[in-house]
Every structure is written in structure tokens, then in C-alpha cells.
Symmetry: C2
Subunit: 205 residues, 2 copies
DNA sequence: TACTAATATGAATAAAACTTCATATTTCAA
DNA sequence: TTGAAATATGAAGTTTTATTCATATTAGTA
């Protein structure tokens, strides 16, 4: 098994090359995906020599993992930022959903990168979503206790459902190249209706 | 652009080779994914010569597309089968969700194959989900008219949400190697609670 | 300024993968 | 039975990709 380490540059010149590689990697992984992008593609796009690539990265996988980490952090940061001043869970879910969708709308690579991990290394993929679910459960629990969330529903399943909604309603937006923030607000609002009262009509009480 | 056609065998001997290739393809795509599987891997697993592969398939992509089509059909068939005798939408959603999850639990390749299309050819992926959503809307519409489904919610968003739930609750099950049919029933039941009444507690009326 | 560490280069090597083709064998319908 | 169509083979050619390394240049500091 080859290593997947990176070596950060120590001078300005090095930083410039490093950034060029990162940028080319983002563009190409985003367009063609990890497996269809060769190191040759990356270095010719970045306009650096082959050897330069290997100064900073052990392999293509090392670059991928670096970018994956960056995007995971960004996604988490965007969600935290959006929800930090809110106190009730409904508003938090709404703001978190919008933040996620806006993020992937602006930069669909984030999406692809995480999903593609299933094919780069299934363990990475599984770990990401199981961790995410665990964290979600942990954040939902207090609201069960406070009474805002119903206490007769399995939080693990709820977590996966909420992830599923984010991802697929996100897809809905990403598929429409012309979607605006208004469109995002609309689908978020519709999603919240479902989280609020379900999709089925209640018999009149 | 190379063609992606297949040539079906015309004799029993040909059928045998064809099937061996299909089987090897399923196994290897399922284990390592499309891009990490080479034609050499496939032919050596199938125990046929390189030339034999090209008698039936123009390329690796042609084989992938053939399998993708097969799985899409299977998934649709499983869902139709499960819902065919049901009349109310609640029961249909429940049965469809269970059928989908049971299907991917038994054969996770179906999952991977469809998702991987995002990286094999994003257009295929997009087309699959937009078609699926369109079909979903079409099937939901009558139940809005009959009054079973609320009429104040966007059906396209609902469709994407329902696809998201299937896929991610499916993941939840696939992640647990030891999951049984009982576990599937459980998560399906929890999901239906959410579709029924949402996750938030209602103020007492 | 001088020197060391950092960085850059790209040709060359090695490994992996795709595809073709000339030849051989088998099938099956006439 | 016979012959055309179908099928099988795998070595060889081609292309693509990853990686190394000897050499050259540059940056930054003592």
C-alpha cells in the first residue's frame, strides 16, 4: 500500500505551486471525477512538472484525500455558521438545510467528492456517514428531552432521513442549472412542511 | 468517442461466455467499482480470452451500461411487484420503501451501479433521477386529487425527498452487515411515522 | 555574500490497460 | 454431411499512466 501523505510547502514559491495543483485538482476532479483524472492531466493543467507534484503529494489519492478533508470542513463550517444563533430545532434544521444546499449549489464538487469516496475507498464513505449520523443523533437528543422533537421515533433513522433529504433536495437544485437562492428557499420551505406534518392529510379532529 | 454497443450471442456456447462475462462484471464492479476494474480483471475472472470480450461488448463502458439497465429494471420491478395490489398511498409508500431497501440489502451492487453513474457519465445519472422524479410525481398526483396527500406541498420536492429517504435509510441498513428483515421493517416503520406526522411535536389542540 | 534547504524540471523507466487480428475451433441449418 | 456463420484464443501492438531521479534553479537566512 503506497502512502498518502502530503508535504506542505515552506516558501512562497512552494505555496504557489501547491495552490496551482490544488486548483487544478478541484477543477478536474469536479469535471471528470477522480478516476478519470490522471496525474498528467493535473500537472499539465496546473503547469508544473511531474516531479513538482510528487514534492507535495505522494500520489493522486493523497491529493484527493486532502481535498475531501477540506470540503468536509467547509460543509460543517457552513452548517455551524448558519445555525449558531438559533435556539429551536425547527429553525436550526431549516437554516442547516438551506446552508447545505446553497453550499453544494455554489460548489457541486463538494458533493461529488464525498459521494465519490464510495468508489475511491468505501471505508471512507461509510465512516463519513456513520460519523455524521452519530453527530446528528447527539445534536437531536436534547430536543427530544426539551419536548420539541417527538420521543416516539428512532433518532438514528431520523438522522439518515435528514441526510437523505439534504442530499436529494440538493440534487434537485443542482440539476437545475438556473436555480436561484429563491428556488432554494422554496424547496427548503416545502421540505420543512414535510418535517412538520408529514405528507398525508390528517382526518379532521 | 468509442461506441458502447453490445452484441448478444446467437448460440448456446456464446450465451455461456456472455453470462460468464456478465457475472464477472457484476462481482468485480460490485467489489472494486467500475473504474478500478480493468477488462483484464474481468476476462481473467470470467475465464475467457480478451478477444471473446470484444465479440460481445464494444468496451468496458458497454458492459457497465448493460448492467446498469438490468439493475434499473430490477429495482423498478421490485417496487411495482410490492405495490401492485395496494390501493392507498400510505401502504404503497411503505411497501415500496421496504422493497427498495430489501433489494439493495440483498444486492448492494444495484446501489453502487446507479450512484457510480455520476462518475461514469453525469448525464446518465441526472437523467435517471429526473426521470424517476417525474414518474414519482405522476404517481403521486392522483392521491392529491383523491385527498390522501396534502395539496399544499410541492410534489417535485416531495419526490426528491422520498428518493432521498429510500437511498439513505437504505444506506443505514447496508452499513450494518448483520441487518435482518426485521431491522428493515423497523426503519421503514420509523420512516413512515415521519411521513405521517413529521418529526416535531404538535402543540396540543 | 555565501551557503543550505527548498523547489523545479522533464526525460526516462516501468507498469498497467485497452484493443486488434490472424488463426483455430465449434455450431447448426440446409 | 457440409460449409458458412459464430465463437474462441492469446500474443502483440498501442496507448495511457504513474513514478523516479539526476540536474538546475531559487529562496531565505546567518
Amino acid at each position: 500500500m503506497n502512502k498518502q501523505e502530503i508535504r506542505l510547502p515552506k516558501t512562497k514559491v512552494g505555496q504557489k505551486s501547491f495552490k496551482k495543483i490544488i486548483k487544478a485538482g478541484k477543477t478536474l476532479f469536479g469535471k471528470a471525477g477522480y478516476n478519470s483524472t490522471s496525474i498528467n492531466d493535473i500537472i499539465s493543467k496546473a503547469k508544473v512538472a511531474a516531479g513538482t507534484f510528487y514534492i507535495y503529494f505522494d500520489s493522486k489519492l493523497a491529493l484527493y484525500l486532502y481535498l475531501l478533508d477540506e470540503y468536509r470542513l467547509n460543509i460543517r463550517r457552513a452548517a455551524n455558521e448558519a445555525t449558531k444563533n438559533l435556539i429551536n430545532r425547527y429553525e436550526m434544521e431549516k437554516a442547516g438545510l438551506k446552508a447545505f444546499i446553497m453550499y453544494v449549489k455554489e460548489d457541486p464538487l463538494a458533493y461529488k467528492l464525498v459521494w465519490e469516496s464510495l468508489f475511491v475507498d468505501p471505508e471512507i464513505f461509510k465512516e463519513y456517514y456513520t460519523n455524521f449520523a452519530a453527530s446528528y443523533i447527539h445534536h437531536l437528543q436534547p430536543f427530544v428531552e426539551s419536548g420539541e422533537i417527538r420521543d416516539d421515533i428512532d433518532l438514528e433513522t431520523v438522522s439518515y432521513i435528514l441526510m437523505g433529504i439534504s442530499n436529494f433536495v440538493g440534487l434537485q437544485i443542482v440539476f437545475k442549472e438556473t436555480a436561484t437562492e429563491k428556488d432554494v428557499d422554496y424547496v427548503v420551505c416545502e421540505s420543512m412542511k414535510l418535517l412538520n406534518e408529514g405528507i398525508f392529510k390528517k382526518p379532521k379532529t
